[in-house]
């Protein structure tokens, strides 16, 4: 989405869409750093394959529900230009107990990094570069297990 992210709004949506009792809410905000690998970053631009990205977000939410049935998660990602200090991603997880809320939040960001079709374009004082992270493969079971391992660490 192009508009600034609101943790409050996302929290309301996630809590209201959780079927069971909610005893814990965990959230994650990813902010744009003004520096990367020693270079000053002026701003970022995010590009997305929107139609696929929406399906992948739904898939990540469904994967989380399969693993942590009492939890609900919501994920919002910015596209377009994002300034230093602004949030590029917001994740909220709600669950009956805190442990699952923390785990789901972490699982969601790890899966975003692995398979969400979004690309980060860094703009420096003296140039720009596309960041290239993971080759996206939603069926890669090893990657999924790694996300689960980090979530439960």
């Amino acid at each position: 989405m192009a508009a600034p992210l609101s943790l409050d709004a996302l929290t309301t949506v996630v809590v209201e869409s959780t079927d069971g009792p909610v005893g814990g809410v965990s959230s994650f905000l990813g902010l744009v750093r003004g520096e990367n690998l020693g270079r000053r970053v002026r701003f970022l631009e995010y590009e997305a394959y929107d139609a696929l990205a929406l399906k992948v977000l739904a898939r990540i939410e469904q994967e989380a529900r399969a693993q942590w049935p009492s939890a609900t998660v919501g994920i919002h990602h910015r596209t377009g230009r994002v300034e230093i200090g602004e949030a590029s991603i917001a994740i909220v997880a709600a669950s009956a107990h805190r442990a699952d809320a923390f785990a789901v939040c972490r699982y969601a960001i790890e899966r975003v990094k692995q398979i969400l079709p979004v690309w980060k374009h860094e703009h420096f004082d003296d140039g720009e570069t596309w960041v290239e992270g993971a080759t996206a493969d939603p069926d890669d079971e090893a990657a999924r297990q790694e996300a689960r391992r980090r979530a439960c660490a």
């Binding site: 590009e47 696929l52 969400l116 690309w119 980060k120 290239e132 993971a134 080759t135 996206a136």
Partner: protein, 81 residues
């Protein structure tokens, strides 16, 4: 047959367009579509081992066949978050 090819990030810059129409032989797979494209835009070639692909906005293997009128997408390694 004809497919629409969508390209993102660095791949889009190399080709100079976010979306192009390509004629491909009947029975072509995503790999065939990519290899034809990389033949026309050699700077794409180094991405052969790291791209993902999609057909009609669903992830697909490079061995998957494409059909006339499909929307094919090639994706460099992702970097969201």
């Amino acid at each position: 047959m004809r497919v629409k090819v969508r390209l993102f990030a660095r791949l889009r810059e190399i080709v100079g367009s976010a979306e192009i129409e390509r004629d491909v032989p009947p029975g072509a797979t995503l790999a065939v579509v990519w290899d034809q494209l990389a033949a026309d835009f050699p700077a794409l070639a180094p991405y052969r081992g790291s791209i993902s692909a999609a057909v009609n906005a669903d992830y697909a293997r490079l061995q998957a066949p494409v059909g006339d009128g499909d929307e094919v997408a090639f994706l460099p390694p992702v970097s969201g978050g």
